[in-house]
């Protein structure tokens, strides 16, 4: 299952130049850019691991691209996303977030339904990848990776 996460997720995967252009756009807006990674991309998992601190006072995307490359090299089978934070008063939130890397094989999620009081139906989302311990996910160990259609 192709994970749709963040901006541009319904577009083809961004090339390096396109990522650099998006980072440049964020920097031109004065948004510090940071890099995060995870192997638990559950929709409710909003806090991914920080790859270093946010990068302040940059003008050109080179420094960010270097950090993205370093993060990919360290976590070749993780999701890596790029965040741009708008610190202006009244906004103070993530202004742009998009994936810069995804694992080769993504087993996807299972929808869990459970009964609760008064025949109410409760739903949960279960990531197949979390069957393996953190750090060992998305390598094809511990679960069956469906063939690409």
């Amino acid at each position: 299952m192709y994970l749709r996460h963040g901006a541009f997720s319904y577009l083809p995967a961004l090339t390096e130049d396109e990522i650099a252009a998006q980072v440049r756009y964020a920097l031109l807006n004065g948004w510090p850019v940071s890099v995060e990674y995870t192997d638990d991309p559950h929709p409710r998992n909003v806090y991914w691991e920080l790859w270093g601190l946010p990068m302040f006072d940059l003008h050109e995307p080179d420094g960010v691209m270097r950090e993205i490359s370093a993060c990919r090299a360290a976590f070749p089978a993780h999701y890596v996303r790029v965040l741009a934070y708008d610190a202006r008063l009244h906004r103070q939130t993530i202004a742009l977030s998009f994936l810069a890397q995804r694992p080769a094989a993504e087993p996807g999620f299972r929808l869990d339904r459970s009964e609760s009081g008064g025949r109410a139906q409760r739903y949960g989302v279960h990531s197949y990848a979390t069957g393996a311990p953190a750090g060992a996910r998305y390598h094809g160990a511990g679960y069956h990776v469906p063939e690409e259609p």
Partner: protein
């Protein structure tokens, strides 16, 4: 356009949807090189025009420095020719843009660095005409593991522009072999070596100490292509600088004040810690202070001319005249 081309598709079981498409060959190829019989007018190029504008601005803005200006013209000419060669498909190794500026304080090293960034940008070697000025504190850390991130951060901030390392010799402390400065130098070297890097590193500092700095880091010295030597200004040039500064700020000397300022320079030049143009600017700054005090002490009204005029008294009240051994405040380094 189909979803195959755009990669845009909703999830449909059994259908392969786009995972990005590689850039097509037609999109990435550079313009075809010129044929061997074609001719290029170096002076008609847009970049050459821009470079000439910057060089003219440099001439207008900076007094003296003839040798530096000549070197900058040479460098600009070489880079322009390199560009033209590239258009014919002639292979040229990527020119080294790293430089060292050595000269006494106040000889215009920072100003020239700004202009240099503009020239390199006009010629397309830098993405932005920006200068990121750093000193030892911005590059060297306080403890183990602190230096590399700091240096890399400085490099990231100056990406695509000029990294201007002021008083670069402080990076290297020969008396302390565990100093982290060496680590910063190694990271800088790595970055200066890299082919993809489109940044220029300028090392600046006072001549004698830069000499020892480069002597103790031969790897660094050989990777710096252009060594520019900034000479001290002569007395005439300093007078000219003073006039330019005054004219820019809408002030002027009276005839006697001009003579007094020449006397001032004579005395000041023989004193220690003379910082060329910076000392001149500071001296004028203090003359303006005294002029303001004098005008406020007057009873009655002042004219526009009074507000612009710096008189002999404003200059002669300087401590340089009363205490020959005193160094004017603010110039003790």
């Amino acid at each position: 356009m189909t979803s195959q081309e755009t990669g845009f598709a909703m999830d449909r079981p059994g259908v392969s949807y786009g995972r990005g498409r590689p850039p097509e060959a037609s999109e990435v190829t550079a313009p075809a090189p010129l044929g061997p019989d074609e001719r290029v007018d170096l002076h008609a190029e847009d970049a050459t025009t821009k470079v000439r504008a910057v060089l003219d601005a440099l001439d207008a803005e900076l007094v003296g420095l003839a040798s530096v200006k000549a070197r900058i013209r040479e460098i600009a000419a070489m880079l322009t020719v390199d560009r033209a060669r590239a258009r014919f498909g002639l292979v040229a190794s990527k020119p080294s843009l790293h430089m060292s500026f050595t000269g006494s304080p106040g000889t215009g090293k920072t100003t020239v660095a700004l202009r240099m960034a503009e020239i390199l940008h006009a010629l397309g070697y830098l993405r932005v005409p920006r200068v990121h000025a750093v000193t030892r504190e911005d590059l060297v850390g306080q403890f183990i593991g602190h230096t590399a991130p700091k240096t890399k951060e400085a490099l990231a901030k100056s990406a695509g522009g000029v990294l201007f390392i002021d008083e670069a010799y402080y990076l290297y402390r020969p008396d302390n072999e565990r100093d982290y400065g060496q680590e910063a130098i190694e990271i800088l070297l790595q970055e200066m070596e890299s082919e993809r890097g489109d940044m220029a590193v300028i090392f600046a500092g006072y001549p004698d100490r830069m000499e020892t700095f480069f002597a103790s880091n031969p790897g660094l010295s050989s990777r710096v292509a252009h060594h520019l030597q900034f000479e001290d200004y002569s007395k005439e040039e300093l007078t000219q600088i003073a006039k330019i500064i005054l004219a820019r700020d809408n002030y002027r000397f009276s005839t006697e004040a001009e003579q007094a300022f020449a006397d001032y320079l004579n005395r000041r030049l023989s004193m220690p810690r003379f910082a060329n143009a910076r000392s001149v600017r500071n001296a004028l700054e203090r003359a303006r202070l005294r002029q303001a005090g004098r005008l406020l002490g007057l009873r009655g009204t002042v004219s526009r001319d009074d507000l612009m005029l710096i008189t002999e008294g404003d200059i002669r009240a300087s401590r340089v005249f009363s205490e020959p051994d005193a160094v004017p405040p603010g110039e003790a380094r």
